[in-house]
Structure formats: structure tokens, C-alpha cells
Symmetry: C2
Subunit: 193 residues, 2 copies
DNA sequence: TTCGTTTTGAATCAGTCGCTTCAAAACCCG
DNA sequence: CGGGTTTTGAAGCGACTGATTCAAAACGAA
């Protein structure tokens, strides 16, 4: 029928996600995106529509990959608290790793930078957060069923408490390099469950 | 000796802070700053040096005003838990208020958007966070002395736990409008102390 | 009033912004 | 191979970026 594309759409979105993740929405120019994806501007606009649409696609990709990994990590073998700890530990170590560029959590970055200005971004970010919350809830529920966590309190409420502390720690990790202090807070949270 | 300035430097910094706060660092242009401050570009550059320096001054101003208000709110009359609750409640209501433009916490915005790229911004933000942490620690200590909070655990550790949950809630408030759910998490945190 | 100093506004710098246009190239189907 | 369709690269759109220049204006001190 017609000329086929020379690029893999998934690869392009992944490359765009990396760029947005590292430099933010306003900090990323269309030329940056062309450079990192290897696409010319016409291909980029022809395929995705524009910078904003590509950003939304990048957030979807984040949900499908990184958020999925977080969920998977919560479902690895171990007690409920061990699994909660593993997820938080992994994120903190990732946040503090210079080799990863200290880019933090892409969904959180989008929440802070763009969510107030763009309802679609807000929805995409909430989708990530809600998915994590649901899985935290499941893990807490399992812990309660196993007698590891007291059943007196609502699993959802406990999950939200863990979730808040978790994202708070990821904020602090942007300016606070003391890994031990962050880990101590993780353990305080788990001890309270 | 020479021609005096036609503007009040404090007013200019405050106006610049509002603009940076609302639109972020990259989202604010020098012309935006000229418009909001009323200064011409030459006056602005002559006085402050450039956009980055003005941003740092804006962060200092945030510390001197908003962070100071948070600290003051922690020192109002009432029990320790009442004071902790008052601070968190005030911030959440501020975050959810459309009339305030849903701009969140300027220090947190700076932490997420700029801190990784600019050590001076990182320091300025940490100054805000550390000030809040210290005051939280004092309040927790007072609660322990009054018998309101068990003395078994380190006040500093408890303060950091509250602080993490606090900033986590402010992240969630960017995409989550359910005030009751956020407040429930505040109460869960306080109940655990 | 005159001098020396600083501030101010207007104009403008080269470079970049997000985005568009368009003709040539590349493909599949018949 | 020819016809129809899509993708591609290059060039460029007007607007805006952070920053600078410079002469005129506005003051205090002598």
C-alpha cells in the first residue's frame, strides 16, 4: 500500500520517556526529542501529533513498564512487610543513584510539574498512583490475613499511609542524600503497621 | 550620589516568587518575570544577575515567609498532635484550593524540577525541609514530655516519619482531590505516634 | 548648577521554541 | 513495472528565549 515506517514506535516512545523523565516537560524541546528518538520533526509530528501528546504516551509507557515493575516487586515471595520494604528500598536506591541521573519518579515529576495545568496528565499520573495504592492494599490485606499485620484497621487506610510515606521519601531523596535516614523512616513506617 | 531605584526589591522578589511558584523554573520566561515584577529587563539583570539568581532569591523568600508560617503554625497553642494536624490540614487545604492556583509547595516543586540540576537550589530547598523537620522534632519532643506521645521512640525518627507522610500527601494532592481521604491519612499518622 | 553615578526604557542580539510545509523517496499492490 | 499512498528529510515559519547594549533620565553631592 505505502511506504513503511523506518522506526519502531515503542522504541521512540521509550526514548521520549527517558528524555522527558530526565529534563521535565518544559525542559525538553522538540529538538531534544528528535535527537533522542532519531526521528525528524515531520515524522514525530505526523505520528504523535506534538510534544504534549508524546508526553502523554510517555506517561502511558511509564505505567506499563515502571509502575508494572513496582507492582511485580510487591508480589515477589516474602512476608507482607518484606515486600513493602523491598519496593521502597528499591525506589530509594534508584533515586539516590547518580548513574541513573537522579531523575526520580517520572509520575511524581509529572504530578508536580504538569498535573495542575493538564487534566489528561493528571489522569495519567493518578492511574499510576492508584495502581500502586491498590497493590499496596492487597499486600496489606494479605499481611492481615496471615496475622502479620493487626486486622483492626482498614487495609485501604494503611495502604494510603504507606503510599504517602513512600512518595514523601522520594521527595526528600531529591535533596537528602542520607540513605540511612531514609531507610530508618521506611522501617518506622513498617513497624507501625 | 546617584539615581535611586524606582522599585522595592522585596516586592520584586515576592512577585518573582509567585511567578516561579505557579509556572516552575523552565515554564517561566524572563519576559514573564518582567511583566509580573514591572521591571524592565535591564533593571532586572542589573539588580539580580539573571533568571537563575532571581530563582534562588525567590527560594530564600519562600523560606523566610511560607516556611516561617509553617513553623509558626506548629507553635500555636494546643497539644502536640493538634499542632501537627493543624499544619498538615492547612497545607492540604491550600493545595486543593483552586483560588490559589493549585501551585503546591514551592520548595517541593523546586526539589522535583531543579534540585538535581543545581546544587544551590538543592541547598535552598533542603534548608526549607530541614527547618520543618527540626520544628516537627521539637513538637514531637514536647508531646513526649507532656506524656501525649510515648517516649519509647526517638523524637527525630518520629518527626521524619511525619515529615515524609506530609510531603507524600502534598504529592498526592496534585492528582487526588479527595480531601477526606487525605485527611484520613493525616489522622492515621497521628494515631501511630 | 554642574558633575559623577546609577537606573531606566527601548531596541536588539543570536539562538531556540513548537510546529508546518512540501517535494522527493520508499514502499505495497495489482 | 506503474499507480497510489505514506514517510521522510530539509528548509523554514513566526514567535519567543535569556541576555545585552546604550543613550537618556534622575538623582545626590559639591
Amino acid at each position: 500500500m505505502a511506504r513503511p515506517r523506518q522506526f519502531d514506535e515503542d522504541r521512540v516512545i521509550t526514548a521520549a520517556m527517558e528524555t522527558f523523565w530526565r529534563h521535565g516537560y518544559e525542559g525538553t524541546s522538540t529538538r531534544d526529542l528528535c535527537d533522542s528518538t532519531g526521528l525528524g520533526p515531520s515524522s514525530l509530528y505526523n505520528t504523535f501529533g506534538g510534544k504534549r501528546e508524546l508526553y502523554l504516551r510517555a506517561l502511558e509507557r511509564y505505567y506499563a513498564t515502571v509502575t508494572a515493575e513496582q507492582v511485580a516487586r510487591l508480589n515477589e515471595p516474602g512476608s507482607a512487610k518484606e515486600r513493602l520494604r523491598a519496593m521502597m528500598l528499591h525506589s530509594i536506591d534508584s533515586d539516590l543513584d547518580d548513574a541513573e541521573g537522579r531523575r526520580g519518579c517520572f509520575a511524581m515529576n509529572a504530578a508536580v510539574e504538569v498535573a495542575a495545568l493538564d487534566p489528561d496528565v493528571k489522569s495519567a499520573v493518578r492511574r499510576c498512583f492508584d495502581r500502586v495504592e491498590d497493590e499496596l492494599c492487597a499486600v496489606v490485606g494479605a499481611g492481615q490475613a496471615a496475622g502479620e499485620i493487626p486486622s483492626g484497621r482498614d487495609a485501604r487506610a494503611l495502604a494510603r499511609l504507606v503510599q504517602s510515606t513512600y512518595y514523601g521519601l522520594r521527595v526528600l531523596s531529591r535533596v537528602q542524600d542520607d540513605r540511612k535516614a531514609l531507610l530508618a523512616t521506611v522501617d518506622s513506617t513498617l513497624a507501625d503497621l
